[in-house]
């Protein structure tokens, strides 16, 4: 491997019928910040490259450039109108390894170019699977659900990667991933095997990025960028996969038209059925919509058929893996305050938390912290709300 083989960060853009998904711009923003530092530190001119597939998407590249892309590689083709895994995977992989494309991005780096240095996908329904198959095709490493990225020169000692000797890995992407609990952060690296016994290159260093985490940069109408057309080559066999029908379904859970949201988390666990009834009553008093935290939407947490299907569903999840909300009043019941959840509700005007543990992270994210078990506190809260309503009516 030589230094010049790997250049630039390639970002796989997502849109729905030409409508950009927010996460695409968030990825561009983060790539812009990372590469600006990178180019300064290493006196290089590597680029933020947006990879855009679809049909009738001529208007998108401009927006991508305004939001931080130096170049947009655009494959505009009727066969790419909707995402089909095989042809998307092959097209993205072709683009990522195409030296012609690289020479149009930055001629100076073209002669040696083999692959992108870094590659970003969205950690959503689309990007999760696409990233997996693209990286299987490119035979390199992929970290999923990342919410922090750092580039560093790292000293690594690893039995397999370095043969047990300390070696420096320059320009390594540290990919931070919160685990299922939301309390631990695992840093994943994708490293070449420098150990001569098992020598092997692993590039690009790739990850999927949690939507809603990174800041979008202020669009700049005057930013310059290259728009590069790419003509994909399809295998006849792959086109036999056909999309017969597509139906749009709207979420049945409407958070936006409610001034109050009452959400609950694992704190209901001691007697879930009764506790969820309490939440229902509280929500009814406040004309509130009911939300949940991510872990409750997952299979292992089960209360009863009816309760599960009404409340413990992905549509009600508030957080990075669900909806972002900003009601006037947010009541968090039995929620510890994992960062994935906070990201979805921190814009609320007033936040009240009910939790027995004063050390819970939610304490730092709320305006009023009612210390106590929900079984004890919620009934009193309901009673007080009812009393005060009567005062108003009287």
């Amino acid at each position: 491997m030589t230094e010049g083989d790997y250049r630039h960060v390639y970002i796989v853009i997502e849109h729905e019928e030409g409508r950009l998904l927010q996460v695409s711009l968030e990825m561009l923003g983060e790539a812009r910040r990372i590469l600006d530092d990178f180019n300064k530190k290493y006196t290089s001119k590597e680029k933020v490259v947006a990879v855009l597939l679809g049909y009738n998407i001529k208007d998108i590249p401009k927006t991508l450039i305004q939001h931080g892309a130096d170049a947009v590689i655009c494959a505009d083709n009727p066969e790419l109108k909707y995402i089909r895994n095989t042809i998307y995977t092959k097209t993205i992989s072709q683009i990522a390894t195409d030296r012609d494309m690289a020479s149009k991005i930055e001629p100076e780096y073209a002669t040696q170019f083999k692959r992108p240095r870094y590659m970003f996908f969205a950690a959503d329904s689309i990007g999760r699977h696409l990233s997996a198959t693209v990286l299987a095709h490119l035979e390199s490493g992929l970290a999923s659900d990342i919410n922090k990225l750092v580039v560093g020169d790292l000293q690594i000692t690893h039995q397999n990667k370095t043969g047990g000797k300390p070696l420096t890995y320059e320009k390594t992407l540290e990919m931070y991933r919160p685990d299922f609990s939301g309390f631990l952060w695992t840093t994943i690296l994708c490293l070449d095997n420098k150990n001569p016994a098992v020598s092997r290159d692993y590039h690009p260093q790739a990850c999927s990025i949690i939507p809603g985490v990174f800041e979008i940069i202020q669009p700049d109408q005057n930013r310059d960028g290259k728009i590069i057309e790419y003509t994909p080559k399809f295998d006849e066999q792959d086109l036999k996969v056909k999309i017969i029908d597509r139906k749009i379904i709207k979420s049945e859970i409407d958070f936006d038209s409610h001034k109050t949201i009452v959400s609950f988390g694992r704190g209901v666990k001691d007697s879930p059925e009764q506790n969820i009834k309490l939440i229902e009553q509280l929500a009814a008093e406040l004309d509130a919509q009911i939300g949940i935290t991510l872990p409750l939407s997952k299979r292992p947490f089960s209360v009863s058929q009816t309760v599960d299907s009404t409340y413990l569903i992905p549509d009600r999840v508030i957080g990075t893996s669900g909806r972002k909300v900003n009601p006037k009043l947010y009541i968090a019941v039995g929620i510890s305050g994992a960062m994935q959840h906070i990201a979805g509700m921190k814009e609320s005007e007033i936040i009240i938390a009910i939790n027995p543990d004063e050390n819970a992270l939610i304490k730092d994210e709320c305006d009023v912290f009612i210390k106590g078990r929900m079984e004890d506190v919620v009934p009193v809260l309901i009673e007080e709300i009812r009393k005060q309503k009567q005062v108003i009516q009287a």
Partner: protein
């Protein structure tokens, strides 16, 4: 008209269900106290294969990469599906694999199963790793068309095609239910919301019959079990285990507590007077019209 061969790749995972899972005081999983079971998403994939058995008389092979104790999980999966073959891919050198190196073992393993596969199922994601990458990466290595988020499917045995419905969530826009038609073979990652339905009388009869048979088979599951090591599945040693893994875990840390975003007023939950004041404040923040 030939029926079809199906495979399911499953995973042994910590049992996260309430009452069984154990957490450390700091909120992390207590692995020593939490037992391992057939992962819940794996179980859904098994039920999707069982649907093919009931409806099309499909043959089912179930495979996993894991330690010897994963045997009993395969038995559990056989009980659910009347599986015809159970395969455990077990070797010390598989240890430490990331998703790419795991997919390599599963690919080689599926190729060692009886018959050429028409449909391979995987779960949506594991409850512990939660990457959701291993399924699609195995599909890619097998050279099969990958269909993710599948909520329903029907197979046409004559034309050897599948019609599948997929639930695609477009975050911040809307959700889409997409219907896809593809020639077999395909690899399906089944959506958590999948529920098999057996509508006709003959399907229900077949269901009863296979369930009864599954009970008998699972009691003698070792007759159906094959254990393979790395050499037996002919996996390339350079592509499996630690040496075949591009990624490493560099560090694990507790997510640092950030600066307090808000200064909380702390209320004693057992003090009704204080709660009364909270409600006054809450009323102020909302317009009185809302609290009717």
């Amino acid at each position: 008209m030939d029926s079809i061969n199906t495979a399911v790749i499953v995973k042994l995972e910590p049992d996260f269900s309430e009452g069984n899972v154990s957490y450390n005081p700091d909120g992390t999983l207590n692995r020593a106290e939490t037992k391992n079971i057939l992962g819940p998403h794996s179980a859904i994939a098994v039920s999707a294969a069982f649907y093919a058995k009931v409806k099309y008389g499909a043959k089912i092979s179930i495979g996993t990469m894991g330690p010897p104790m994963a045997e009993s999980m395969l038995q559990q999966a056989q009980l659910m599906s009347n599986a015809d073959e159970l395969c455990l891919f077990s070797d010390r050198i598989f240890a430490g694999a990331d998703t790419l190196a795991t997919a390599e073992v599963l690919k080689a393993g599926v190729q060692k199963m009886q018959g050429k596969m028409d449909v391979v199922f995987s779960g949506h994601r594991a409850s512990d790793g939660e990457t959701g990458q291993t399924g699609p990466q195995t599909a890619w290595k097998l050279g099969m068309t990958f269909l993710g988020h599948v909520i329903d499917y029907e197979i046409n045995l004559e034309s050897r095609t599948i019609r599948a419905k997929r639930l695609v969530r477009m975050q911040g826009v809307y959700d889409v239910v997409e219907e896809v038609e593809a020639p077999l073979p395909v690899f399906i990652a089944i959506d958590p919301s999948y529920k098999p339905r057996f509508n006709t009388v003959s399907q229900r009869l077949a269901y009863e019959k296979y369930q009864k048979e599954a009970n008998e088979r699972a009691q003698n599951f070792k007759q159906y079990l094959k254990v393979f090591n790395a050499i037996q599945i002919e996996a390339d040693p350079k592509l499996i285990g630690i040496s075949g893994s591009p990624t490493i875990v560099y560090k694990v840390e507790r997510i640092p507590k950030g600066k307090a975003a808000r200064q909380a007023e702390i209320i004693d939950g057992s003090n009704q007077e204080q709660i009364r004041k909270v409600v006054v404040r809450l009323r102020q923040s909302l317009s009185t019209a809302v609290i009717k």
